[in-house]
């Protein structure tokens, strides 16, 4: 082919390409429906609303089953109150109680009779306070 023939052929091809660009083949409407059905079938589920942030649980609560916390909490509180009351009764016993219980405690060696303290409260330490 000569150069001018090549040019003519090129022009003819360009015309054909332009025709093809303007003449876009169209799909049947059923194809669009089929594609849309596929799209909806594979549509991922919508992301749920942002979850409510849970409060940070204490270390005890994390390892302690949730339904135990309430009854065990009450039991622990009761035990603590009993211990405090017992300690206080020991330190400052009511008058009636000390008379009735003292003999048992003395028998067990847990209480020293007051009379020993009244005589010389520092006798056991052998301190000579006068020298200080």
């Amino acid at each position: 082919m000569s150069s001018s023939e090549d040019d003519k052929a090129d022009l003819a091809l360009e015309d054909l390409f332009a025709l093809a660009r303007d003449d876009t083949p169209l799909p049947a409407s059923q194809l669009v429906s089929r594609v849309l059905m596929d799209a909806e079938a594979y549509l991922p589920p919508q992301a749920a609303a942002a979850p409510v942030r849970r409060k940070k649980r204490s270390l005890l609560a994390r390892f302690w089953p949730q339904d135990w916390v309430s009854p065990m909490g009450w039991a622990a509180a009761g035990l603590g109150a009993t211990m405090v009351t017992g300690f206080w009764i020991g330190v400052n016993p009511p008058a009636g109680l000390s008379d009735s219980v003292a003999p048992y405690l003395q028998g067990a060696g847990l209480v020293v009779p007051d009379s020993q303290f009244l005589d010389d409260p520092f006798a056991g330490f052998e301190l000579d306070l006068e020298e200080v």
Partner: protein, 196 residues
């Protein structure tokens, strides 16, 4: 989001919305991409039914891919054109292996609503001649010519679709055009190009 707003959004952003379960994005993408994907498949296969099957399959793969789509890596249409080409060439190979051949002269001519008008007839026959000549090209040349001269893509994007560099694209396009010219040279008078 309203459909009008979605129409202004790029394919990639719509696909991200689709991946989050947005049904409106699915509708917009379907109506936007189906004609384009079908047209490309038709230009590579010259068969309405097969082109529709390929278009549906390519878009089905897109829906499945949506949750794992990596934004910014590829354009949706680039990815789709690659999938369409692979599906088309697989079909052609399997058609060949089954011994089914569609001779160029038997490429079906779609009904022409303007039949009777001389110009419209000539345009139709020109288009049919181009379609037949494209089908006669080797696959890669046909793909390059269709993408460059009919879809109107740039060489870089064609290279991305075909998995080759821009020089290879230029070479494939040039060889394709030369081959088309040879195929059509005998029909120039018939197609009304002799006096232009």
């Amino acid at each position: 989001m309203a459909l009008d707003d979605l129409n202004a959004i790029a394919d990639e952003a719509l696909l991200a919305l689709y991946a989050k379960g947005d049904a409106a994005a699915a509708r917009v993408l379907t109506h936007r991409l189906t004609p384009r994907v079908f047209a490309h498949a038709y230009r590579l296969l010259a068969d309405q039914g097969e082109a529709e099957d390929v278009a549906q399959e390519a878009l089905l793969r897109l829906w499945k891919q949506a949750p794992d789509w990596r934004q910014g890596e590829a354009k949706v249409t680039t990815w789709l054109f690659r999938v369409v080409a692979n599906l088309c060439f697989d079909r052609k190979r399997s058609r060949r292996s089954r011994g089914v051949q569609v001779p160029i002269d038997e490429v079906p001519e779609p009904a022409d609503p303007h039949e009777g008008a001389a110009d419209a007839l000539q345009q139709r026959s020109r288009l049919m001649a181009l379609e037949a000549a494209l089908i006669a090209l080797p696959e890669r040349q046909r793909q390059a010519v269709v993408l460059r001269h009919i879809e109107g893509l740039g060489n870089a994007e064609i290279g991305e679709i075909m998995g080759v560099g821009t020089e290879a694209v230029e070479s494939l396009t040039a060889r394709g055009k030369r081959a088309l010219g040879k195929i059509l040279s005998g029909k120039r008078e018939e197609l009304g190009f002799s006096d232009e």
